[in-house]
């Protein structure tokens, strides 16, 4: 004590995070100083550029794995590398959706219907703060997946969450709902963060260390007060399970998915899930692995309930975004089985599944954003009837993504489901396997219902039409379809790459 050693940072490994943070800061500066007219395009260019640079930096850093990337706080290892890559790729295709700025509130701070808002609309003011917010959130996600001490973990969680709370409230239309989504997301998110923090405190109290390695060592040592560990694991899990929207911590998801601007929902649903599961994998595989017999039964139960609950409730949804939200809850259950498996194949499978699911989710929400009427997006499923007749290609694309969610062969979803259930069964978890396939069957029910609606119901002439606003959205959809198909038909390279690369440095 007393002697201050300057921290040793491995900038190569931190580069992706730093690049994104720098891009975010630059975005703030643009927001402050660039002329209003060019802001929108320059922000988009900057964001995409930042993310691409970050991706390049990440790829350059591959193979140089160390658990001392930033002292003991960040571990850059194979799994972290893959997760960060997934987040960046998903972010790149998701951020293109933000370019459709018509979907965002002109003056988010103005009350809906106020003069202020009207003036902003007349002046054609376009909101562009969303780009730096997104970049901040991405930075938080990148850190979240590689954080190996409790401070870093908590800070990353907040860095990724806070921008999202704001972004949820930025919808141009149905602003009350959007603000409500923001409020709910914020209050519940903060509430769960408090649990998370409390859990962190107890983990620290249990092990006397704030690093994962220290916690793992304490568990292996087994001399400390088990009650602390128990409270710590429980409450940290609450925070993480909230983020991945597992039952019973799921209730924010449908409301927030529905209320948020669809582009934000796409980003949030895909990227947050990767980040949250990434962190979860790391904590459970690295820090809590020694205590598996205590948490596995509980997490198994949560996984089972989550799968079944998500699938069942999704059946009765009438709103496509809510339906996708419940579907994402069900998928959280499937993904949890990879975490519980606690073996190498579980790790590989979860990473593959996350990537495949994230990509498909972005594509699905992108398509949702295309179906419009005069007053904005149409998310009422009944009004999707006959979409197959009106715009067959969009309907086929959406059906394909739904089939991927349902896990039909020749889509990425099937390979993902196959590998994750194999991993679960390999760990001896037959219950997960059986419940998993059964809830997949239930899930098929509502995916197919949408397909039926689109193809076998006659369209109602109520002004609903498909509007493809920009080339960017088109790119997003095509890329997501292509990846979903390729991962379904030729998954071998990706699977091999993951299985060769994915590991945790302990």
């Amino acid at each position: 004590m007393g002697i201050f050693t300057s921290p040793i940072l491995n900038y190569g490994m931190l580069a992706p995070i730093l690049v994104v943070l720098a891009g975010a800061v630059a975005g703030v500066l643009i927001e402050a100083f660039a002329p209003r007219k060019s802001r929108s395009s320059s922000q988009l260019v900057l964001s995409v550029f930042t993310l691409v640079i970050a991706l390049v930096a990440l790829i350059r850093a591959r193979g140089t794995y160390s658990n001392k990337a930033a002292m003991n706080s960040i571990t850059f290892d194979g799994a972290g590398y893959l997760l960060q890559m997934s987040i960046l790729i998903i972010a790149i295709i998701a951020i293109l959706l933000l370019a459709d700025s018509d979907k965002f509130a002109a003056a988010p701070t103005a009350a809906p219907g106020s003069d202020e808002e009207r003036q902003a609309q007349v002046a054609n003011i376009r909101v562009t703060e969303i780009y730096p917010l997104t970049l901040f959130a991405i930075a938080g996600m990148l850190i979240f997946t590689v954080a190996t001490d409790l401070i870093m973990l908590f800070v990353a969680l907040e860095v990724l969450s806070l921008p999202l709370y704001l972004m949820a409230g930025l919808a141009r239309r149905r602003r009350l709902a959007s603000q409500e989504a923001a409020l709910k997301y914020f209050l519940l998110g903060a509430f769960s963060s408090a649990f998370f923090l409390f859990g962190i405190a107890y983990l620290y109290g249990y092990s006397g260390s704030i690093t994962f390695a220290g916690i793992a060592a304490a568990i292996t040592g087994g001399t400390a007060n088990d009650v602390f560990l128990l409270i710590g694991i429980s409450f940290v899990s609450v925070g993480l399970l909230f983020k991945v929207s597992a039952v019973p911590f799921h209730s924010w998801a449908p409301d927030v998915y529905q209320g948020s601007p669809t582009a934000v929902t796409a980003f949030m649903a895909a990227a947050t899930k990767v980040a949250a599961f990434g962190a979860m994998l790391r904590i459970f595989y690295v820090a809590f692995a020694g205590d598996v017999w205590q948490w596995r039964p509980i997490l198994t139960a949560i996984a089972l309930i989550t799968m079944v609950f998500g699938s069942l409730v999704a059946i009765s949804q009438r709103d496509v975004k809510r339906m996708l939200a419940y579907s994402s809850i069900a998928h959280a259950g499937f993904l949890l089985s990879g975490v519980i498996a606690l073996n190498k194949s579980g790790l590989d499978a979860t990473i593959f599944y996350l990537f495949a699911y994230g990509i498909a989710t972005v594509g699905a929400f992108a398509i949702v954003s295309l179906v419009n009427d005069a007053s904005g997006e149409v998310t009422d499923l009944n009004r999707w009837a006959g979409l197959g007749k009106r715009s067959p290609w969009i309907a086929i694309a959406f059906s394909f993504l739904l089939l991927a969610f349902a896990g039909i062969p020749l889509t990425s979803g099937f390979v993902g489901k196959f590998s994750i259930f194999s991993a679960a069964y390999e760990s001896g978890n037959t219950a997960i396997l059986i419940t998993g396939v059964l809830s997949s069957a239930i899930a098929a029910f509502f995916y197919i219902r949408v397909v039926v609606l689109m193809f076998f119901k006659d369209p109602v002439e109520d002004g609903t039409s498909v509007v493809i606003p920009s080339i960017y959205t088109r790119i997003t959809i095509l890329v997501s379809l292509a990846i979903t198909l390729i991962l379904g038909v030729f998954p071998a390279p990706v699977l091999d790459y993951i299985s060769q690369t994915a590991f945790f440095l302990r």
Binding site: Q179, L183, L187, L197, A201, Y204, G205
Partner: protein
């Protein structure tokens, strides 16, 4: 004094906060309850720091305060925005999205 008592105090504060979140309607009050929970976390951290004879816990507490401050910024922004639209800070009014 037995440092463990601080743990009990923190747990009590946490519980009060959590119950407050569930029972109070005003968004600001709910938010303050969450702050209370965060601070209960902080108190726990500091206590453990003392028990374990390790400074890291106190460092975490500092970070938490910073984070909590950020949260206030974001949270108040959202609450204010919603108050301006609805002329109400009751969180029960915000229940358009359901089922």
């Amino acid at each position: 004094m037995d440092p463990y008592n601080y743990l009990y105090l923190a747990a009590l504060l946490f519980t009060i906060g959590a119950v407050g979140v569930v029972v109070r309607r005003n968004a600001i009050v709910v938010f303050m309850c969450i702050e209370l929970m965060l601070n209960a976390g902080n108190l726990t951290l500091v206590t453990f720091s003392r028990i374990n004879g390790d400074l890291n816990g106190q460092v975490v507490a500092f970070f938490t305060m910073v984070v909590a401050a950020c949260e206030v910024v974001v949270g108040l922004a959202i609450i204010v925005a919603i108050y301006r639209s609805r002329r109400s800070a009751s969180i029960d009014d915000a229940s358009l999205l359901k089922r």
